[in-house]
Amino acid sequence: MPEVRSITADHFDDLFLGSQLGVLSAASTYRGSLETWVHALLQERPVELVDPAEARERFGEEEMGLAVLMVGAMLSLLEYPFRGDEAVVAVRRLERTLGVRFAAMCPFNCSGPNALVAVGAASLLGLPLVDCDGQGRILPLIDQTTFALGGLRASPLAGVGPWGDVITVDSPGDRAEEIVRAAVSGAGGWMLCATYPAPVHRLVETGIQRSLSQRIASGALMQTARSDLGERLARHLGGRLVARARVVELSGHQHTGLRTRQPASPYSILLRGLSSTEPLIRLEVRNEIVVATVDGAVVGAVPDMICLIDPLRRRSVELSDLRVGQVMEVLVLPAAEAWRTPSGRAMAGPGAFGLSWPAQPA
């Protein structure tokens, strides 16, 4: 896979496919306006992708960067589409608030809409995109990032909603998540936010490196791998294929964990393995899949990424597309190193989702 220096319209399909990996609720696997828009932007103005190793030399100690993301419900973005200038408004507002000009930006995460939002915003603003992100996967909270683990703060933050509402949040007590969450509901379902203003060097240090180029590479693999996609992806990303199984039940249930900050309606996906022992597989969903068990044994859990791959369509699926009877491949991909520390687990592990169990013997 040649190193990507510039994201062009030619990379769009790979990026789009790769960004859906490990995304279930926030997935958008059908190409619609958002995808067409970002594709058109890339045709107009490709985005320069800066490798983290280069960023140190390329940017001075004082040069500031930020992350952009869409906070809220993916479905609301479909009903209330972007005007197109939200990223510009939010970034400029944050620049005015801080009295700086940003030299670069990075994706908040490279999963689902946020990969496209970041690329689109970088194209619109003409800013280079640093190849790192704050989650390495999708997690629901703004402060559930390795940026935060590394001591960066989500605020000051500027957000723009579908009805043109603009907010700036400066929360000395690190309560940006709670405030933005309330603002998102008020604003109509989503807000495009410019957040984590910090020196580019600090974003690179604390972020998960080369995550965007990895998604593009995964997307390319998904386009070219003809069969055994699950196994090949697992190999490529250092994870494992834990099961090939048929969906037997999809069910929502009442909240049954400890009270958490997670905005999630608990959901379960039950599958029966196709291997000779026909194991029972349960995927527990809190927006995304947070735990996978095989016959009651935990085989994967956040912060590791649990993905469902449709071997027929050779791509990941969205929750609303999942049907009883479909065959799926269940992949567990390892979380970035930063999440594997005790503080990382505390922030993004099962406990953060109200679930916990003793560590499994290896």
Partner: protein, 507 residues
């Protein structure tokens, strides 16, 4: 991991410690009544402890034999229950009790079945349940007296031996109970072969029959469990005897009543009141049969009648066998008449004969019962004929178990009458003839000669001997003073020859 490796064997239990309660016993306890237990395994294994689990961390600390009662929110989260079931399997915990319903419970049940781990679901207070179960586990005696009390109540409510055996099967987990007769013949309950160490509670001295016992084959043995099961069997013993006695009394009263009703019908046909009350078929031509024991000593014995009546209950067609003279009577109405009355009669006789034979076979008394079938007609007539046929069937020398009046020959007819008296006459009248060595040949030859109306050549043909042999033997008979050629005595002679042959006087 096999189940055997998971729990320390009972042999390793230190002496003197009270015996732990088993999971099967606990399942029968009062607090578990509110818990649905779709997967129940290892019923005969100990429960060492009951733990209230509020965190999956607690599951990890579970010792083998623990019953884990999950608390909310774990108790209602299918994913957490499944992880708990998995831990239970890995740690040999005895069971997991949770609080889900519907599809979540189904999923948990599927996993529990896969892993062979007991699971239960309830909607009560888990803390209370855990405390109640803990108390029972701490005092196993309480569980056992609870079981005894419960069995006593259920057994006392049973009204038949079968019901008693059902209670035993349901209440004694993993224990095969049965009622056995002499030689361990299975009378009721589980039919498995008895192991050498079977628990046995004899029905004597309460029992009217000898050699019967209640048995229990235990899948595991311990002093306490042996005692518990023995006590339950002792409670059951009295009820088994009582149920049987009441059954016998009822059947006996009914049998008497039927005998009385039949006697009334035969004595005064218009007065069939008691018979009508019994719903007996009395209209139209009837075909009767009589069952008569071969041995005179057991004729008219009520025990035989009761057995026949019990056997009849398995195929209750027509009236039950009713006491009639020294045998038992059966009868049936003619079916739809066909074109040929003779054929109808033949069919009716054959059908009743077959039914009577089935009845005798089913009764399986070990007593030789003979059957006679009469011609269709009035009840009194057909039963009389049937009795004659039955006597013919019982007559010495008869090899057939069943005789139809319609096919009785003169010999059978004759022997069916008062045989002892005729035998005496035959012995006296034919004394000279019966005194010689070849008496059998001579009597047979005389009988053939009389049967063939005095034709020596036909008699020779019948006996398959030369004609000269017949004339020679007849000369010897005449020489012995038998009035062969006296027309006035030929009928008497003919009859006495039949009697002599069939009564074995020539043997």
């Amino acid at each position: 991991m096999s189940p055997d490796e998971r729990t320390p064997t009972r042999a390793s239990r230190p002496e003197g410690r009270p015996e732990a309660v088993t999971w099967g016993e606990l399942l029968r306890s009062k607090p578990m009544e509110q818990v649905v237990v779709p997967v129940r395994v290892d019923l005969d294994r100990d429960v060492t402890k009951v733990r209230l689990i509020s965190d999956l961390d607690d599951m990890q600390a579970c010792r083998p034999g623990t019953v884990a009662v999950l608390q909310p929110p774990l108790a209602s989260a299918a994913w957490a229950i499944e992880i708990a079931v998995r831990y239970a399997w890995e740690r040999s915990a005895r069971a997991v009790v949770a609080q889900v319903t519907g599809s979540a419970a189904e999923a948990v049940t599927r996993l529990a079945e896969r892993l062979s781990v007991s699971v239960g679901f309830h909607d009560g207070d888990p803390t209370e349940l855990a405390l109640d179960l803990s108390a029972l586990v701490a005092r196993p005696g309480a569980v056992r007296s609870g079981l005894l009390a419960r069995c006593a109540v259920l057994i006392s409510e049973a009204t038949s031996v079968e019901e008693v055996m059902t209670v035993l099967a349901q209440e004694l987990p993993r224990t095969a109970t049965s009622l056995r007769g002499p030689g361990d013949r299975l009378l009721a309950g589980c039919g498995d072969e008895l192991p050498p160490d079977v628990l046995r509670v004899p029905l004597a001295p309460l029992d009217v029959e000898a050699g019967r016992s209640l048995t229990a084959a235990l899948s595991h043995r311990s002093v306490a469990w042996n005692q518990t099961v023995t006590r339950v069997l002792q409670i059951a013993r009295a009820q088994v005897v009582a149920c049987e006695a009441s059954g016998r009394v009822a059947a006996s009263v009914q049998h008497e009543r039927e005998g009385f009703a039949l006697a009334r019908v035969l004595a005064a046909p218009p007065d069939s009141g008691p018979a009508t009350a019994l719903g007996w078929p009395l209209q139209g031509p009837l075909t009767g049969a009589v069952v008569l024991p071969l041995e005179e000593a057991v004729r008219a014995q009520p025990a035989v009648g009761l057995s026949l009546r019990a056997a009849w209950a398995a195929e209750p067609v027509g009236a039950p066998p009713a006491p009639y003279l020294d045998g038992w009577a059966l009868w049936a109405q003619l079916e739809e008449p066909g074109a040929d009355p003779a054929e109808d009669h033949g069919r009716a006789e054959r059908a009743l004969a077959a039914r009577a034979e089935r009845l005798v076979r089913r009764a399986g008394l070990g007593v030789d019962l003979r059957i006679g079938v009469g011609l269709p007609g009035s009840l009194a007539a057909t039963l009389e004929q049937a009795m004659i046929a039955a006597r013919a069937a019982t007559a010495t020398g008869s090899v057939r178990g069943i005789e139809r009046f319609s096919t009785l020959g003169s010999r059978e007819l004759v022997t069916a009458t008062d045989a002892p008296h005729l035998r005496r006459v035959a012995r006296e009248t034919l004394a000279a003839l019966l005194g010689v060595d070849d008496r059998d040949d001579l009597v047979r030859t005389l009988l053939a000669y009389l049967d063939c109306a005095g034709s020596t050549s036909r008699a020779a043909e019948r006996l398959a001997v030369h004609r000269n042999t017949v004339t020679g033997r007849l000369d010897r008979v005449r020489r012995l003073g038998v009035p062969v050629d006296d027309p006035d005595r030929s009928l008497e002679l003919h009859l006495l020859c039949h009697v002599a042959l069939s009564s074995g006087l020539t043997g």
